[in-house]
Symmetry: C2
Subunit: 137 residues, 2 copies
Amino acid sequence: MKIGELSRATGTNIETIRYYERIGLLPAPGRTAANYRSYGDAHRARLAFVRHSRDLGFTIEEIRSLLDLSDNPTRECDEADRIATRHLEQVQEKITQLSLLRDELARIIGRCRGGIAADCRVIEALSDHSHCENAHV
Amino acid sequence: MKIGELSRATGTNIETIRYYERIGLLPAPGRTAANYRSYGDAHRARLAFVRHSRDLGFTIEEIRSLLDLSDNPTRECDEADRIATRHLEQVQEKITQLSLLRDELARIIGRCRGGIAADCRVIEALSDHSHCENAHV
DNA sequence: CTTGACCCCGTAGTTGCTACAGGGTGCATA
DNA sequence: TATGCACCCTGTAGCAACTACGGGGTCAAG
């Protein structure tokens, strides 16, 4: 299949596919006589793996390690577990921080009763961190 | 005060302060005879506003608008309210998505019982989106 | 034979910084 | 007086993970 089809099949931007190839995340496919990239099912599966991992928030470098494991199925899977667990911790940490942020924003907005900027509680709250109830980043 | 003092006073990297000046977020301060930047309290307050807003996740462009409002206190504060509200919505959306992600990751990891990569549930789950219970991004 | 959809490559832009390299300034100490 | 050191200056390049050109080639339909 050509790059446009692969793009549609995986919901990946064409430029992104070429980018993944350039950074060595996807193997360079064969070419047609017209020098068009020609992909097979293995390529599609690998790209799906990459996209799914990216959707789950893994970095490119993490995905490199995961692909490496996936390519060497006799290796211990401890590392995959470790990568995923560490990532889970990071996601949880991010959720916690964003929740504090949300509460702080809601509090700031809640105090605004309209009017002119001189009396704006949003602006006032942003001017002075000491008004914050929760320690955010 | 010199840039190093401002940096310590606001917990902002020196390079970041110069960066903010370069992109016009902070006004260029006066200079000493030795061409060192010389800041006053107004600069410190403005930088604190910027840092606080960044900590709350506002983009530079949003901060530009907020600063603009803050500089023109007779303007209606609707826009500040609008910016903050939109941002709150985005934060909430992000929290929702990350929570789905966390659940998905926890589910994937929970199925892993160690062993070799060929049997690794983490790798398997990443290979195939159809195993997902929640629609994530 | 031309129109349009598709493909190629290379490079530059995005966001919000951070990190040099290569130099100048200012003060204390040997 | 020299010299070491902390601090400051500018300008440019790097980071992640794409995205968006610009300027061209290919190919089937009308």
